[in-house]
């Protein structure tokens, strides 16, 4: 169906996205662009609007695409009617010489991503399935957009994009007003609005066309090449894609503004788009995650000393200073709610003297920390939300497989295709199709599951000493923030006096967990075994309902068990811990021992039950969160 889209030239601001797109239309060798940014910043609008000005078609790749439609599959209509094997080509075929747009590209399933990567690097698509063998060219400009809130992008895919831009809302009230005005005018009368911008669209289209013609004539000097290489090297980029993207982009820039040879300005300008997602140290993340401070500087490059050295300096120094800033920012970001602390004190009075509630301590912005870590970790293949093949009937249907078991999840489309070549010779009982048991294909589904993090928190009297509980609350809250982003499920168990309490059953509501956490009180003995035991029961029950869960127990304690079934409370705890390990449940122990004389019981427990142990003071390094992720990854 034909769609009426908001004109490209009617979008106000977002110059960086516009530039990156236009350069790609001029020079497809740049290798596409990834637009990352907050919701509602005209990301998709601009890309959809590009059809009009680029002279190319925008082919959209929907998230729920199946393999057969991506690369192609046997045309069963033809097979039935004429008995011929013919390929019904997928959308990669139609994307050839055009623009391939993937919205929310970070949510694309692994199978599809793999096929997409292969096609984009081979510049052709190879089909070997259902008795068909074919290869067709598919050279396309890959454009992706994503909201980093949802999850990151795998590095192989990230590297494939020539350019990277960050989208952000406009800050000026006046511009915002005009944006509203235009959008409302568009919705009021679509056709009229589009007509109004027709002339401007034509103008831009012809500018692009002229630049395309000029492109082959642009000269690239050796100096320009070495400058690009230098920049890429300084940014610590892997491979050579970085400098290639810089040169190709610089050529497009020069073609657009009419220069005949690539100059220093165009190289530095290009580097700002081509390098951010390829840089490999901490400053990368700053560039990628926090360029709010940067774009002003970037979009208006100061004329006098816009040298490569300068750029390099901006990258690295800005990286460092911003980094510590972020850190400081996040530390002050404690949800200090004066009202709730009042509640605490009043609640305190009502409890018996041995019990107390501590406010939530320092909270760390683990999200960013984690992402920083992830940036490096990703290369080892970890750190994104766990994607599993699932045999439950939920999840996204990504491809089909030959079935040898009784299974009701039949992939009818694949079954029809499998049966299609034989239709000529089969007895069909008056129907058009006959299907044998050997034709049956089943669906292979993929599903993103979050982790199931069970917090088992020691709430005994010893935890009340020296603000310990407050630090623990802070730590858990940090983990909860992370869980919120990843849509992990959480549960909270506390143990004190003579039993464990399930404070919060399995939930995705991180809000609720945070609320429960606020009112957690301490006091009494330490029945460590009971905490571990109830975590095991909880997980087992949950796994019955959802097989795909990836459970992790986060045990927060000093390990000093003082209450048990037998005369050896610590021994009881070890026994329970072993049962946990026997069920293949990963455990992480956060050791909160801070006393002068260290008994190292938590460490001992960890050794006995093969768990990882972290000190509460380690939290500052953000290790615990990555520990949770590596723990689930290892399973």
């Amino acid at each position: 169906m034909k769609r009426k889209v908001f004109p490209f030239t009617a979008v106000l601001g977002q110059e960086r996205i516009k530039n990156a797109l236009i350069w790609n239309f001029i020079n497809p060798r740049i290798g596409g662009v990834l637009v990352s940014g907050e919701k509602g910043t005209a990301k998709s609008t601009l890309i959809r609007g590009a059809e009009h000005i680029s002279g190319k078609k925008v082919i959209e790749l929907p998230l729920n695409i199946t393999e057969d439609r991506l690369i192609g599959a046997i045309d069963f209509e033809n097979a039935v009617k004429n008995g011929t094997k013919q390929l019904d080509r997928g959308i990669l075929y139609y994307a050839n010489k055009n623009i391939l747009y993937v919205d929310e590209i970070n949510l694309l399933s692994d199978n599809i991503t793999k096929a997409l990567l292969e096609a984009s690097s081979e510049k052709s698509c190879c089909v070997e399935r259902e008795g068909i063998s074919d290869r067709y060219p598919c050279e396309f400009i890959l454009i992706g957009s994503m909201n980093p809130e949802e999850s990151g992008l795998r590095p192989q895919l990230l590297d494939r994009f020539g350019l990277f831009v960050e989208a952000k809302g406009e800050e000026s009230a006046l511009i915002r007003c005009e944006i509203i005005r235009r959008r409302i005018a568009f919705e009021k009368n679509v056709t009229e609005f589009i007509d109004e911008y027709e002339q401007e669209e034509m103008k831009l289209a012809s500018l692009i066309k002229k630049a395309q013609e000029r492109l082959p004539l642009i000269e690239v000097s050796d100096y320009a090449l070495s400058l690009a290489a230098q920049l890429a090297q300084n940014a610590n980029c892997q491979g050579n894609r970085g400098e290639i993207a810089i040169i190709e982009t610089a050529k497009a820039i020069c073609a657009m503004n009419g220069s005949s040879a690539v100059n220093k300005e165009s190289i530095t300008e290009a580097a700002k788009y081509a390098l951010p997602h390829r840089m490999r140290d901490c400053s990368v993340q700053q560039e990628v995650e926090k360029p709010q401070t940067e774009p002003e500087k970037q979009s208006t490059p100061s004329n006098e000393n816009n040298s490569a050295n300068n750029l390099e300096k901006t990258f690295s120094s800005q990286g460092d200073s911003d980094f510590s800033e972020t850190l400081n920012d996040s530390k002050t970001d404690v949800p200090e709610n004066p009202k709730s602390s009042e509640d605490f004190s009043s609640a305190n009075n009502n409890l018996d003297s041995s019990e107390k509630i501590e406010a939530i301590g320092e909270q760390f912005d683990v999200g960013r920390w984690l992402d920083d870590k992830r940036k490096i970790l990703v290369r080892k293949g970890s750190g994104r939300r766990s994607l599993v093949k699932t045999d439950s009937l939920q999840g996204r249907y990504v491809k089909s497989a030959v079935s040898n078991i009784k299974n009701s999840d039949i992939a009818f489309d694949a079954t029809l295709r499998a049966a299609a070549p034989y239709q000529k010779n089969r007895n069909k009982n008056g129907l058009a199709f006959s299907i044998n048991a050997s034709d049956i294909r089943i669906k292979v589904r993929e599903k993103r599951t979050g982790n199931f993090i069970v917090f088992v928190v020691d709430a005994s009297g010893s935890m009340g000493v020296g603000k310990r509980m407050s630090a623990v609350k802070g730590a858990i809250l940090s983990l909860l923030s992370d869980a919120y982003q990843k849509r992990d499920k959480v549960a909270l168990i506390t143990f004190r006096k003579n039993k464990a309490d399930l404070v919060l059953g399995m939930t995705r509501s991180v809000d609720l967990a945070a609320k429960k956490l606020e009112t957690l009180s301490t006091g009494g003995k330490t029945p460590l075994y009971a905490g571990i035991e109830s975590a095991r029961y909880l997980i087992k029950a949950a796994m019955k309902k959802e097989k795909d869960l990836l459970p992790v127990v986060v045990l927060v304690s000093d390990g000093r068990a003082t209450y048990g079934r037998s005369s050896d409370p610590f021994g009881d705890a070890v026994e329970e811990g072993r049962a946990l390990a026997a069920d293949h449940i990963k455990t992480i122990i956060i050791d909160v021992e801070q006393d002068f004389i260290k008994l190292r019981l938590a460490e001992k427990l960890a050794k006995e039950i093969n768990a990882e142990v972290y000190k509460i003071s380690d939290l500052h390094a953000g290790t615990i969160i990555s520990a949770v992720h590596t723990a689930t990854k290892a399973m």
């Binding site: 169906m1 209509e77 959308i91 919205d103 009818f412 129907l431 993103r448």
Partner: protein
């Protein structure tokens, strides 16, 4: 098929004014982007959405079109496009807007549509079998417990809600059709959060709570019992009120196109968005559209400052949530303060 049951009349719902307003605004102006109703169990959330069906205006559709294309619109399904290309005139009929349900257990193929197996086996040809999104075109799509929806179904919803188009490239089918719907969701926040991306797609958000007033509560029970005793009689009692409200909705729709706003209103919207640090521009745009619809509902053609403030309370709360543990609560007082600070 079950015979149409008599639904509890919308106008008989006691209190919950904000929720009722938000729903009515969306009926008047389907471009507002829907409403998310957050609240505890038993606060008439579902009742209100279901009751809405009775108040819906009639719209004109192309006869024989599975997607109910608008004969005077600018976007058409492939079948209607073919008709236009062949110079075939549309047959037009009128029909009431509907509330289409999206059950939480719905599978992806039922939502987006899939290959018609029966047809394929009988005729050896491919045919697209419509899904829920096709039915929802130009209607209200209602998702009860929207926070429990499977992730991959949410992805699909996001796509269509944003573009008004459902693109299918799966199971051997390649098809796209208009899917412009008003998304109405209800959820109990205790059972988990909504993905921020989906949250942002809802134009408006209202939080509902049980009535605190004892008399009001008694009235709620009284009416409910009366309804259950004899639904027909009860519905008759409210017929006049229902008629008045649906007339008012139609009237508002008629004047909506001529509602105007001045620069001051625009500036107020931009100021609020900047001060509350919301993501992107969707909030600003929705705020103005909502204010315009509020003005139309009151029979005015000029947006007042009060309209905008009322709109802000509905549009902003869920968009200013930078920290997951913020409550996401915004009241009229805060809005007044921001506006006076930025005078």
């Amino acid at each position: 098929m079950i015979k149409d049951r008599i639904t509890y009349p919308f106008t008989a719902i006691v209190g919950q004014e904000q929720m009722k307003t938000a729903l009515i605004l969306n009926v008047i102006n389907p471009l507002l982007g829907g409403v998310l109703i957050r609240g505890e169990k038993g606060t008439a959330k579902s009742t209100a959405v279901r009751a809405l069906a009775d108040l819906m205006p009639t719209i004109q559709k192309v006869k024989g079109c599975k997607f109910g294309c608008n004969p005077y619109g600018s976007e058409f399904c492939p079948d209607c496009e073919a008709k236009i290309a062949n110079g075939q005139p549309f047959e037009i009929y009128e029909s009431k807007m509907k509330v289409t349900d999206l059950p939480v257990s719905a599978t992806e193929d039922r939502v987006v549509g899939t290959l018609d197996i029966e047809y394929a086996i009988k005729h050896g040809e491919k045919k697209f079998e419509c899904g829920i999104l096709a039915q929802a075109n130009r209607n209200i799509l209602y998702v009860d417990e929207v926070n429990l929806l499977d992730d991959h179904v949410v992805d699909v919803l996001l796509d269509s809600a944003a573009m008004g188009v459902n693109t299918i490239e799966r199971e051997g089918i390649s098809y796209s059709h208009p899917a412009r719907f008003t998304l109405v969701g209800t959820m109990n926040p205790e059972e988990g959060d909504l993905r921020p991306q989906l949250l942002d797609r809802f134009g408006l958000v209202v939080d509902v709570a049980g009535e605190n007033n004892r008399e009001q509560r008694a009235e709620v029970v009284r009416r409910r019992l009366e309804f259950e005793e004899n639904p027909e009689e009860f519905a008759q009692k409210y017929e006049k009120k229902q008629k008045e409200l649906s007339d008012k909705i139609v009237e508002a729709q008629n004047i909506l196109k001529s509602v105007t706003y001045d620069n001051k209103i625009l500036m107020m919207a931009a100021t609020l968005s900047i001060a509350l640090d919301v993501d992107g521009h969707r909030a600003d745009i929705t705020m103005i559209k909502t204010a315009m619809t509020i003005a139309a509902f009151h029979g005015r053609t000029q947006v007042s400052e009060e309209d905008l403030k009322q709109a802000a309370v509905l549009v902003l709360p869920h968009r200013m949530r930078k920290n997951p543990f913020d409550n996401g609560v915004l009241d009229a007082g805060t809005i007044d303060k921001i506006l006076s600070d930025n005078e």
